[in-house]
């Protein structure tokens, strides 16, 4: 169907159709077919036949029509029970949220207690206390399911209330009631809808279950549950008699589930306009690698023509090459989405499973890792150490620091417990973790952020790797702690000769620590230069220049100069054109820039730049 703008998800459509049919049957059933369902015939306990599609019961009544007519009774009861549960539960949950701390704690405990009983037990108890009958069953099931609604409302409302947009709305003078109706309710509605649909399905089952036990509708009225009960007694004479109500219960539950799930998907603001798949693929993979440095010490890590792709084939990193020499500190600087972290993860063979990658050459300290199909050898764990951005999630919170530090040594270096402990303590002391012996016995949460990051560096240093990959190691830290961690990395580099690959978005951090810097933009290295040139602001690529002009760190040194924002934004992986990815934002762009990807061209100084305009200018100069 073309021309339909807001497409309903298929599952919602199926669910809605099913639900509509059920509602129609529930409404029309008793009006149209009551007579057929109640008509007594002589054919008792017949199997399915042309005249009676599901056969007949003990009194010769048609099972199919009885199931159809019973729909209203069951659906009515289930709807009423779900409505009671949802209304009462949501109300209670909301009350608990808005109450004071004492009531909130008490309310939470009571809900916990109620939730620990299966709802059917609660419903049974209530029904037994009240006398059996339709009304008491509805009330009992409503009460039994309301704690679930209360709990969910409570949790959701609490989390939404802490959102900044609710805070800001209050500051703007939006009244309490309006905040609830405009911000809180719409944002907690989808999960509540799912619960309602699940609750309805469960109510149908519970209503039928209680009726099956004879606690609900009393003869001569009937519903699916009582039909099922009598059908079960005649199961051997006419299986159809049990099949009818059972199938009805199943289909109703299915419809409720489909509608609930479908609605949620339909209501998600992100779901309505997914980025459409682009058709075009970037044509020619660029041939970088011209810039791989000749001579010097043997590299501890080198990669050539590394490409990383998403499962849909979109390329995130486009054939980049990189070497880290022994004892060298190399920085990769770039903004989010530039592929800097992916490159680092690929070196350590730690890319997320769903990403595909390939490289002409990938080698870390003599270990060949270029084959994506081959698992990296265990030895890799001792060839390189990794320090991640978030020190709070890189340790296992349930294990003591000591256990985690000594693990590597005992597994890979086959050290004894005591040896490993001694080495770990000395490493902690070396990374300036205060009272190292005490820290070994502590859990990660007992350390401050800075201490944890130092401990993480100690952990990375334990197997004496030749290379440490540090991915934004100081981004989560305070500036004073950052300064210390950077000094620490420098010190490790000088005393142990460990090479470091530092990934950062902060050009200031990179230029204060690194010897050589790669600037990445949209999955490519656009410039490679020595730190001296960067400090002198002697940069070639227009992007590097723009980055310097936009960062207040360096701008503040030029008296009174304003920051120069970079126009536009970095292209997403799906809308990259065939040429230089920076061309649309580049002040120097010429027509060729949008057509051909500029190769990374090495200069005599050892620096390299990927820019048509710059390369042409350099040729003119020489």
């Amino acid at each position: 169907m073309r021309g339909v703008r807001t497409r309903l998800p298929a599952m919602l459509l199926v669910g809605l159709v099913l639900a509509a049919v059920i509602v129609l049957v529930a409404v029309a059933g008793p009006i149209l077919w009551q007579a057929r369902a109640d008509a007594l015939t002589g054919d008792i306990r017949q199997g399915p036949s042309g005249a009676h599609w599901l056969g007949t019961d003990a009194l010769g009544r048609d099972v199919f029509w009885r199931t159809v007519v019973a729909t209203r009774s069951t659906i009515e009861m289930a709807v009423a029970a779900t409505a009671i549960a949802a209304a009462l539960g949501t109300f209670l949950g909301a009350m608990i949220v808005s109450a004071g701390p004492a009531v909130r704690t008490l309310g939470d405990r009571v809900i916990d207690l109620l939730l620990s009983f299966p709802p059917i037990i609660i419903a049974l108890t209530f029904t037994a206390i009240l006398s059996p009958g339709r009304a008491s069953v509805v009330g009992a099931i409503g009460l039994a399911f309301c704690p679930q609604f209360a709990r969910l409302t409570n949790r959701l409302a609490l989390s939404v209330q802490e959102r900044d947009y609710v805070t800001v709305a209050r500051l703007l003078g939006v009244g309490r009631f309006r905040v609830v109706t405009r911000h809180v309710v719409p944002n907690i509605a989808p999960p509540l809808l799912v619960l309602t649909s699940v609750g309805f399905a469960t109510s149908v089952v519970t209503v039928s279950g209680l009726s099956f036990l004879g606690l609900s509708v009393q003869p001569p009225s009937y519903d699916w549950g009582s039909l099922l009960a009598s059908g079960l007694r005649n199961l051997y004479d006419n299986p159809g008699e049990a099949f009818g109500p059972a199938a009805a219960i199943l289909v109703t539950g299915l419809a409720a589930g489909l509608v609930g799930d479908g609605l949620v998907r339909h209501m998600d603001p992100r779901g309505t306009s997914r980025p459409h798949r682009a058709v075009r693929r970037s044509a020619d993979p660029p041939t970088a690698g011209d810039a791989s440095r000749a001579g010097g010490a043997a590299p501890v890590a080198s990669v050539r023509d590394l490409s990383i792709r998403r499962p849909d084939g979109r390329e995130l990193v486009h054939g980049i090459s990189l070497t880290v020499d022994a004892g060298e500190i190399v920085g990769i600087v770039g903004e989010s989405g530039s592929g800097k972290s992916l490159t680092a993860l690929a070196l350590a063979r730690l890319l997320p499973r769903e990403l595909e990658w390939s490289a002409a050459h990938l080698n870390v300290n003599g270990v060949d890792l270029a084959d994506p199909a081959k698992a990296p050898p265990a030895r890799l764990a001792t060839e390189l150490g990794i320090v991640f951005q978030d020190p709070s999630s890189s340790f296992n919170p349930a294990l003591r620091i000591g256990t985690q530090l000594t693990e590597v040594l005992r597994v890979h270096a086959k050290m004894s417990r005591r040896q490993a402990h001694a080495l770990a303590v000395s490493r902690l002391a070396e990374t300036r973790v205060s009272s190292p012996e005490l820290r070994m016995r502590q859990y990660p949460h007992e350390l401050s952020g800075g201490m944890r990051q130092r401990a993480m560096i100690a952990a990375a240093m334990l197997p004496e790797p030749k290379l440490i990959i540090a991915d934004e190691p100081t981004t989560a830290l305070d500036v004073t702690v950052q300064a210390d961690v950077l000094r620490l990395l420098k010190q490790i580099n000088t005393t142990h000769g460990t090479a470091i690959l530092l990934i950062s978005h902060d050009i200031g951090v990179v230029s204060s620590l690194c010897d050589r810097i790669c600037v990445m933009y949209a999955g490519r290295v656009v410039e490679e230069l020595s730190v001296e040139d960067l400090r002198r602001r002697d940069v070639r690529h227009p992007y590097t220049r723009a980055l310097l002009a936009a960062s207040p760190d360096t701008a503040s040194e030029r008296d009174g100069a304003r920051l120069v924002p970079l126009p536009g934004r970095a292209p997403a992986a799906e809308d990259q054109g065939p040429g230089c990815s920076f061309a649309p934002r580049c002040p120097l762009a010429v027509p060729v820039c949008t057509e051909i990807v500029p190769p990374l061209v090495a200069e005599p100084s050892g620096n390299a730049v990927a820019c048509h305009v710059e390369t042409a200018a350099a040729e003119v100069r020489s």
Binding site: V168, L172, G175, H183, P186, G508, S512
Partner: protein, 337 residues
Amino acid sequence: MTHTDESVLSAVGVSAGYGSGPRSRSVLHDVNVAVRRGGTMGIVGESGSGKSTLAQVLVGRLTPIRGVVRLDGTDVRRLSRRERFAARRRIQLVPQDPYSSLDPRMSVERTLAEAIDPRGRLRAGAHRERITELLESVALDGSAAKRLPHEFSGGQRQRIVIARALAVRPEVIIADEVTSSLDTSVQAEILELLLDLRERLGLTYVFITHDLAIAQYMCTDLSVLYLGTVIEQGTTDVLTRPAHPYTELLRDSRPDPSGRSTPAAAGGLATEDAADPANPPSGCVFHPRCRYGPRTHEDRTRCAVEPPILADLLPSRERRAACHYPIKAVIQDEEGP
């Protein structure tokens, strides 16, 4: 408080915290901050220094335990209900995270309409012109109005948040780490936008940041917070020529792109992380980390016992520092022959 007369917003002797009873947590201790009309007061400090708590107090979200918040010299507690509603709208907050500060289910248009008309008294279409104007003022296209927040990048979202704050024609905007989740180039855009708006609309900012370079770039005045107390205050030369050892430590901790070695590295005392805010040290709260304090100068035992008060150093230049032994260079330079 010499500034009180011309200051549009000020916190006077404010102590504040969270919770009550035995589990309460005190965060700010006797903080004095006066925000000059048309100026930008930078609040800098490390995490746990109480920067965001101070923002909450200034914006009226958190009632101080002691002390008062003054708006145009009037204690906000003395205002009537209606006056307080109006006062609240004069001070707007731009929170840090542009992802959690926009309701994901409300279009930009509805978000702005709510800010213009929080009680929903006018019909929905009445604000169209104003909305277009607001979007233009933050350099967003009018077509943005119909879209939902998730369709925008982080920088664009932050523009929308700023537009929403401008919708009520505020006098003071409290910007709480507004660029810390943005990329460098986008950060520059937002900072320039804020500077531009300050000029065009005559706004006053309270600018909370952990990034000293940004503070120096954006602000006219600075207050340096450490463990909930203001330890130094003055114009932005606080950062270029600090009088308090902590401010000096902050300055020297900045990654130094020129590659010169940093003086603080020599002392090595910076390795002590900030103390636990719940359990601050005795005397001067900074003394365990101070390179001029009792750790290096044995005669300076006073630091560990007697809390220094925030005192004027240079009456002419509006510089205050809470230190028994402020760094002399600042004073001598000013008073030199």
